[in-house]
């Protein structure tokens, strides 16, 4: 339902807000009240997305630097959400992984569950933040470079599991990481995460050549 703010309702809203402000005077409280009033659900992005979960609440409260005990507790809770593939395989196809890493769409207003508005599978948007393969120079720098990921760390199963888990839920390692929890929020499927692990870990992947 779209909330319409006509001049009249705006005025009413302002009055209500003024009343609110008297009771709850912190900027955060005002911000939350305003956003609650001024946002509307659009497609798959419901109003529930404005509510913080435990991780978001702690990161907001501690300005992304929670005390060590809080961080440890959160990381433990997040690690408990990790689901590894039931077939035991962690390496998919690095070529598909490259496509998932290149694409950034999905999870917003006109997209569908697991699919973008164009009918493609969701992207991971990995290149938005990370250097990955050697041929893509238009990579972002918000996250560390993942070039030579396997080559530098070895190709063992423990590292494969680490890569899988990190993509599935980065908050299991760093409570206030800026990286989305792609598996946890069901943005990427198990097979897609396997393909991304292959992109990082397959010795034949351009990432490691």
């Amino acid at each position: 339902m779209r909330k319409i703010a006509t001049a009249a309702t705006l005025a009413a809203g302002v009055a209500a807000l003024a009343a609110c402000a008297a009771m709850q005077s912190t900027p955060r409280d005002r911000a939350l009240a305003l956003m609650q009033r001024d946002f509307h659900a659009e497609g798959i992005a419901g109003m529930d997305r404005l509510k913080e979960d435990a991780v978001q609440a702690a990161c907001n409260k501690y300005d992304d630097k929670p005390p060590a005990d809080v961080a440890a507790r959160l990381q433990k809770e997040q690690a408990a959400t990790l689901k590894f593939p039931t077939d035991g395989k962690l390496l998919g196809n690095w070529k598909s992984g490259e496509k998932i890493a290149q694409r950034g769409r999905g999870m917003t207003w006109r997209d569908k569950p697991h699919k973008t508005s164009r009918g493609e599978p969701n992207g991971g948007g990995c290149y938005n933040c990370h250097q990955i393969g050697p041929d893509t120079t238009s990579f972002g720098t918000i996250g560390p470079s993942l070039y030579n990921f396997g080559k530098l760390r070895g190709y063992g199963r423990d590292i494969q599991r680490y890569a899988y888990a990190k993509i599935y839920n980065a908050k299991a390692y760093s409570a206030c990481s800026q990286m989305p929890r792609f598996g946890h929020i069901d943005a990427l499927t198990e097979d897609q995460i396997k393909d991304l692990v292959a992109l990082l870990m397959d010795p034949k992947s351009p990432v490691n050549r």
Partner: protein
């Protein structure tokens, strides 16, 4: 809209423009009367377009300056500045070699117009931008590569 009146007016404009350009001796009658060159604009390769325009014999030169980005921020709008340093330049033609229809257009200069043009074009993929200059009855050419990057965050 007064359809007939409009089309008559347009007709007058077209004839008037052509007549004045031809009488001024600035455009060869052949080029002026050829109007919009369907064959050249419909050609799928730069060389076919150049043949259709009769400029395929253009010789290489360093006397044409093409100012365009090495890497275009957005292929939908690529700014290009072209200056010809060849005396008696009368026209500049532009081709984006890798576009599905490479021929972008021809710019004619007369009555004091300097052999310079700024234009903004769509470039589908990284491609040479080829320029052909008509001067003193001959044709000269040069090219500059423009790279087109992939899009941004794509959210």
């Amino acid at each position: 809209m007064h359809y007939t009146r409009r089309s008559v007016l347009k007709g007058v404009w077209a004839v008037g423009a052509l007549a004045s350009a031809v009488t001024a001796g600035l455009l060869s009658p052949a080029r002026a009367l050829a109007a919009w060159n369907k064959d050249a604009f419909g050609a799928k390769s730069a060389i076919d377009a150049m043949r259709a325009l009769g400029v395929a014999n253009a010789e290489d030169t360093k006397a044409i300056e093409i100012r365009a980005p090495e890497i275009a921020e957005n292929g939908a709008v690529v700014p290009i500045d072209i200056t010809s340093n060849i005396p008696s330049t009368t026209a500049i033609s532009v081709f984006i070699e890798k576009n599905p229809f490479p021929y972008v257009g021809t710019f004619d200069f007369s009555q004091g117009a300097m052999p310079y043009v700024h234009l903004r074009v769509k470039i589908g993929e990284s491609s040479p931008v080829r320029v052909v200059v008509a001067a003193g009855g001959k044709h000269y050419t040069t090219a500059k590569e423009v790279k087109v990057t992939i899009g941004g965050c794509g959210g």
